[in-house]
């Protein structure tokens, strides 16, 4: 198979939510000597981006997005271990999780998926994450973007505490913080000292991709 056929195939596998196909083509990409990073970004991630756009236009919905996401991760699991770590530009790092007390993670997972599709390396802390874990992970992984979600009004206070913990550790200016979830508005985000809140995962990922350019490169050294 031609290189372009494999890359397009990866995109289509994601768009159609075919995990088996994505895995198979990812293996073919490796066998054909295609740069794994390119297979991810131009193949899998492009498919996810297409689905994100369809979601915004209401041509695709949660079931389609989840199927696409599954397929993307299926392919990424094959390709990522083969990605070169040395040299080249370092991928931007996302630290993501649901606020302590909140056990919901479907929205968080979609944000992670869309940001992964935009090229972020995602450190997923999961759901119901203790407040201190966010700064800990940010320091360890030299994070660029922190994303915190909650669906529950009762855990919004914890979101505020998470943002504050970055100030207390003196690393607030080293990261960009996005907060989200049903009860969260941009006004609330501003009030608690986060950088933004966006209405959906696609918007969040687009914002993150742009905003990391504002961060000075050697700030973690």
């Amino acid at each position: 198979m031609e290189e372009s056929e494999i890359i397009n195939g990866l995109t289509n596998a994601v768009v159609n939510g075919k995990k088996d196909q994505a895995v198979e083509l990812a293996n073919q990409a490796l066998a054909a000597g295609i740069e794994p990073y390119m297979a991810v970004i131009e193949g899998l991630a492009k498919g996810m981006e297409i689905m994100g756009e369809k979601y915004e236009k209401k041509q695709a919905f949660m079931p389609h997005l989840l199927m696409a996401s599954n397929a993307m991760y299926g392919g990424m699991d094959v390709l990522t271990p083969h990605m070169k770590t040395e040299g080249g530009s370092k991928r931007a790092v996302l630290v993501i999780g649901s606020a302590e007390g909140d056990v919901h993670d479907i929205g968080k997972n979609l944000v992670k998926t869309m940001m992964s599709a935009m090229g972020f390396e995602a450190i997923d802390l999961g759901k119901d994450v203790p407040i201190g874990k966010f700064t800990e992970a940010a320091i360890e992984h030299k994070a660029d973007v922190i994303s915190v979600s909650t669906l529950m009004t009762s855990t919004m206070d914890n979101m505020e505490k998470i943002v504050k913990s970055f100030t207390e550790k003196g690393i607030r200016d080293k990261v960009k913080i996005i907060v989200g979830g049903a009860p969260i508005t941009p006004d609330y985000a501003a009030e608690i000292g986060a950088d933004t809140s966006k209405p959906d995962a696609m918007e969040a990922a687009k914002w993150a991709k742009e905003i990391v350019k504002e961060l000075p490169e050697n700030r973690w050294n």
Partner: protein
């Protein structure tokens, strides 16, 4: 001029009949920490004990001035009933569903036999009985339950959103199970004295799953519940979170009497989109009722009233830390509104 009891007034307002003024109620959860401290019944105990549940529900009427009593305060009793693991709540926070019990068809088969006299669903029915004995002639007795689509999601986990796409037979079978349960549970609440049934189905949103899946999986289920309630003379209110504007016609096609919309919906647009259904809502529970003062609550209420809302109410569950005086401001605005 004709005056009505709060019970008659709400039933008439929800079915589009003339009334003397707007009823002052909340279709979503009513309990707050202030009320708990005033009445001596608090979460999490009030979620487990019928007398405490009734006492805390009553506080909504006595402390705040809601012209109804409503139970329960959370939406996890249904999933818990089927064996889903629950993360317990606190005084300020409702319990959450963290474990799932249905992976495939055989799991559904195992859950077909159940006894509604077990578990917290039975506690809710007992609380309704206590409230109906005390207030049933005067006040609306509101029961609420998690709707069938969201219950299915609790039982199956997030895979549910893919299952409806990849395995229709399984999706339909689980919806049958949850819908039959919802009907039986709602009937039992009605037998115990509930006259208004709020179906809370947060994830059954056309915005999330699209019209096609909503029409196939959700509408028939809600219709069965609405039909069963109509036979018993119980009015139905359907609450779905998020911007449901584009899905309102489909929501109404299930035959529910009223549709509760949250703060993401423009009320005037919503009212224009439905035929008979009464639109209720949609004060922002966080950015208005919880975090503002009574004057701003009144201003926000006036906007919703001017937009033509059928019944002014919170757009989603009241936040437990909401000040009573803010809720009272909303109650006052509703009471002084004539149609």
């Amino acid at each position: 001029m004709v005056t009505y009891t709060p019970k008659e007034r709400l039933a008439r307002a929800l079915t589009g009949k003339d009334v003397d003024r707007m009823p002052a109620v909340s279709f979503t959860q009513t309990a707050t920490v202030e009320q708990m401290e005033a009445c001596g019944a608090s979460w999490p105990e009030a979620n487990e004990d019928a007398q405490k549940m009734a006492t805390l529900a009553e506080a909504g009427h006595k402390q705040v001035g809601f012209e109804a009593v409503r139970v329960p305060f959370d939406i996890t009793a249904e999933a818990e009933f089927f064996g889903c693991q629950i993360k317990p709540g606190t005084k300020e926070q409702q319990p959450s569903v963290v474990g799932h019990v249905v992976k495939d068809m055989s799991d559904i088969e195992k859950l077909r036999e159940y006894d509604l006299n077990q578990g917290r669903v039975s506690v809710v029915c007992d609380a309704i009985r206590i409230l109906a004995d005390k207030y049933g002639k005067e006040l609306p007795i509101m029961g609420s339950m998690l709707g069938p689509f969201s219950l299915a999601q609790h039982m199956n986990g997030d895979d549910w959103f893919m299952a409806i796409m990849t395995d229709e037979a399984f999706g339909m079978a689980l919806m049958d199970l949850t819908t039959e349960f919802n009907i039986a549970y709602a009937k039992k609440m009605a037998e115990n004295g509930a006259d208004t049934m709020v179906i809370i189905d947060p994830t059954a949103s056309a915005q999330l799953i699209g019209d096609e899946f909503y029409e196939k999986f959700v509408v028939p289920a809600h219709k069965k519940i609405a039909d069963a309630m109509r036979e018993l003379g119980v009015t139905t209110v359907l609450h779905i979170c998020g911007d449901t504007t584009s899905g309102l016609e489909l929501m109404e096609s299930s035959g529910v009497d009223a549709i509760s919309v949250d703060q993401n919906v423009d009320v005037a647009t919503a009212v224009g989109k439905v035929d008979k259904a009464v639109i209720v809502g949609n004060l922002d529970p966080v950015n208005v009722l919880w975090n503002k003062d009574p004057e701003l609550v009144k201003a926000a209420s006036q906007k919703v009233l001017d937009a033509g809302v059928g019944v002014l109410a919170p757009g989603c569950g009241i936040v437990s830390k909401t000040p009573t005086k803010n809720l009272q401001a909303m109650v006052e605005m509703a009471k002084s509104h004539k149609y």
